[in-house]
């Protein structure tokens, strides 16, 4: 059941490739690498100190002239310690056809609608709803799964309209009970959870989204309407001991994103209203309608330390569900930090920030470092540490810390 859309896309692509002698297929980019998450502190008795995996991705493109092209981006992760992290996914497998201002795309795609920094630290995504998250791959929610869709877009002079039909909803990929940064501390295993949908059509209920983006010289503004399952399920008790069931429920999301520059200031927001479609008496625990937002500013110091860029940013996180928020600790928080780009030969980038709860004690500090080594290698380092009071949803990670290291060779 997992591959129908992929097969269609790849089949179409190979079909076209076979029918036209002038097809041109290129390997645009690819990498092979190693990654590890290491947790120095002890977790619960069943939990491990981390994992280690080999990862790889290829980006292939076929072109057939006259506006027809195809993309195939297979991704693989093979984990030697935590087999539940192993994954083979078609991040992209699509054919696209463009004519003038119109563009049609069919197949698996990867999109990103986020504009803020905080969503890069923890799974606090607001409007970036199209692609499901692979929390086993990255507990902070930065790994995504390809989504099947048929999309049509029209580009005007300073706007773009996109429509999406989403025929196949993918369930969230959760870590198993031995994994760390897991809110259930080894007590609940979600890797073979019962999956329930509030719609009788299950995963094949047709979802839809519309996005309109406007581009001004100083600002980009996008309006988003999504109708379909919420990507984060409600976790409900299962009849099997020690197991939970995932319930995916329907929502209507109306969102807006803004990125604007004002001299040395950058202003950003991603804000959305989530309307629920479900009858609370039938599905207990499904949240009533709510607001969620991440908004902030960044100030850039010019020529800090001789030619480098130093940015200082602060973002506020708000969720009207408050403490009752479905597993999200980010209902009233501030994320503040610095971004340093020295503009050196190795493209070094450093981001350091602290997220802090305003109405309860919960701290997450993160340090990110990325640079190139030589011509072909790139190293990513992330350090994250938690400190949270007992009544915080993050208390399960109290005083946990993690070191993430990724080394990739690009070709």
């Amino acid at each position: 059941m997992k591959w129908p859309a992929t097969c269609v896309a790849v089949g179409l692509a190979t079909g076209y490739a076979g029918s036209d002698a002038h097809a041109q297929v290129t390997l645009d980019k690819g990498y092979l690498g190693l990654e590890t998450y290491y947790y120095p502190q002890d977790g619960s008795p069943v939990q491990k100190h981390g994992n280690a995996a080999a990862i790889g991705q290829l980006e292939l493109r076929g072109r057939w002239g006259a506006g027809l092209s195809a993309k195939l981006t297979p991704f693989a992760r093979v984990d030697a310690i935590d087999s539940h992290r192993s994954l083979f996914d078609a991040h992209e497998a699509e054919v696209e056809y463009s004519a003038g201002r119109w563009r049609a795309q069919l197949g698996m795609r990867m999109l990103s609608w986020s504009v803020t920094e905080a969503v890069g630290v923890l799974p606090a995504q607001v409007v970036d709803i199209i692609n499901q998250r692979d929390l086993a791959g990255d507990p902070a929610g930065q790994e995504k799964l390809g989504t099947a869709m048929a999309a049509l877009s029209y580009q005007g002079d300073n706007f773009r309209l996109e429509g999406f039909a989403l025929p196949w909803f993918r369930k969230r990929k959760f870590p198993d009970e031995t994994a760390r940064e897991n809110p259930f501390q080894g007590l609940v295993n979600l890797t073979d959870a019962t999956v329930q949908y509030t719609s009788e059509s299950g995963a094949h209920r047709l979802g839809a989204a519309v996005r309109a983006e406007y581009s001004f010289d100083n600002a980009n503004v996008a309006l988003i309407q999504y109708q379909g399952y919420a990507p984060q399920p409600l976790l409900i008790p299962d009849f099997r001991l020690g197991k939970a069931a995932e319930l995916y429920y329907l929502i209507d999301m109306t969102g807006v994103t803004v990125q604007a520059t004002l001299g040395q200031w950058l202003l950003k927001t991603e804000t959305a209203y989530f309307g629920t479609r479900e009858n609370a008496s039938r599905f207990a625990g499904v949240p009533a309608s709510y607001w969620s937002s991440v908004s902030g500013v960044e100030y850039t110091f010019v020529n800090a330390f001789g030619g480098s860029d130093l940015g200082v940013f602060a973002e506020g996180l708000f969720d009207s569900r408050g403490r009752a928020a479905n597993g999200t600790p980010f209902h009233e928080d501030v994320f503040a930090g610095i971004r340093w780009v020295p503009n050196d030969q190795s493209d070094t980038q450093i981001l350091a920030g602290v997220m802090s709860g305003l109405d309860q004690h919960a701290l997450v500090a993160q340090f990110q470092f990325q640079r190139r080594i030589g011509t072909h290698y790139q190293v990513d380092l992330r350090l994250r540490t938690y400190n949270a009071a007992k009544d915080s949803p993050l208390s399960a990670f109290n005083e946990d810390s993690v070191m993430f290291l990724k080394l990739r060779r690009f070709f």
């Binding site: 290129t26 493109r61 201002r101 986020s114 581009s215 980009n220 850039t300 030619g307 503009n343």
Partner: protein, 292 residues
């Protein structure tokens, strides 16, 4: 709008043929563009410096859109080398600063990154960056034009187009086949206090620039060589060498032959569609051996 553009092209052609001839009637938009500059350039030396760069500026109007490949060799003080490859596309907007797309090809980890810039002379540019790893287009703060471009000895300020209004000019002296003209950047966050430029008398092209830092010390020297002329009119150097006198580093840019009047699709110069720009073919952006 179209009619306006044609009249600009016509005006430019006229300017081109009338090169060097004084007393030619200038079209309205040129007058409007140059009038505030002329008013700000009072002394005879300033007027002469401005006139030289005004001629260079007007000669270079009318190429429509262009594409060129840049191969950059970064050489540090110890002689170690690394490389960058970028395909640059530009579109000329009538009576407006240019729009530029930079598509990064090498090193491999940044391949597919796209930078879109709407240039402005006296304030910060409007700039967007498409990051292929995240499939995300970020509006970025382009206040800092003086930082290194891709780790090279060139800053964005050095490689963006020379809008006439970016500088205040002053003629210094004649030197053999060149005029020596000083330019002082107008932009408050420029990395330079002044630039001393050498302009070839025969074709009005800048062949050498000395950059002085904010304290007034010599920072970098740029030499522009291997000149080629396109469409019988537009001069471009195929080799640029920037030497940094403070850190001992050097960057050499070798350019592929330009495609001018390339007929590029102007709607691709938009922050809305950076994700849809296909990677140029492997052969694009590969410079040929320079011809003298």
């Amino acid at each position: 709008m179209k009619g306006k553009f044609f009249s600009v092209c016509l005006a430019v052609s006229l300017m081109g043929t009338a090169l060097g001839a004084t007393g030619t009637e200038e079209p309205e938009w040129v007058k409007a563009y140059v009038a505030p500059l002329e008013a700000a350039h009072g002394s005879p030396e300033e007027k002469q410096g401005l006139k030289i760069y005004e001629t260079q500026y007007l000669m270079d109007k009318g190429w429509g859109s262009l594409e060129v490949g840049l191969e950059m060799r970064l050489i540090d003080a110890a002689g170690r080398e690394s490389q960058r490859r970028v395909v640059e596309r530009k579109t000329e907007e009538p009576e407006q600063p240019n729009k530029t797309l930079g598509i990064f090809l090498e090193p491999a980890d940044v391949r597919g990154t796209v930078m879109l810039t709407f240039e402005k002379s006296t304030e910060s540019d409007d700039q967007w960056l498409f990051l292929p790893a995240f499939k995300r287009t970020k509006k970025i703060n382009a206040v800092n034009k003086s930082g290194s471009f891709l780790g090279t000895e060139f800053s964005w300020e050095d490689i963006s187009t020379s809008e006439l209004t970016k500088y205040h000019y002053r003629f210094l002296r004649e030197e053999g086949t060149t005029w020596v003209v000083e330019r002082v950047p107008v932009y408050q966050f420029s990395g330079y206090s002044r630039e001393v430029t050498w302009v070839n008398k025969s074709n009005y092209q800048t062949v050498k620039i000395e950059y002085y830092d904010r304290k007034g010390d010599l920072l970098k020297t740029l030499n522009l060589d291997d000149w080629a002329q396109y469409l019988g009119r537009y001069w471009r150097p195929l080799r640029m060498e920037m030497s940094n006198h403070v850190n001992g580093k050097k960057t050499i840019i070798q350019l592929s032959p330009y495609r001018m009047n390339a007929g590029l699709d102007k709607k691709m110069f938009s922050s809305l569609v950076l994700e849809d720009i296909p990677l140029p073919n492997a052969t694009e952006g590969t410079p040929v051996a320079a011809t003298k």
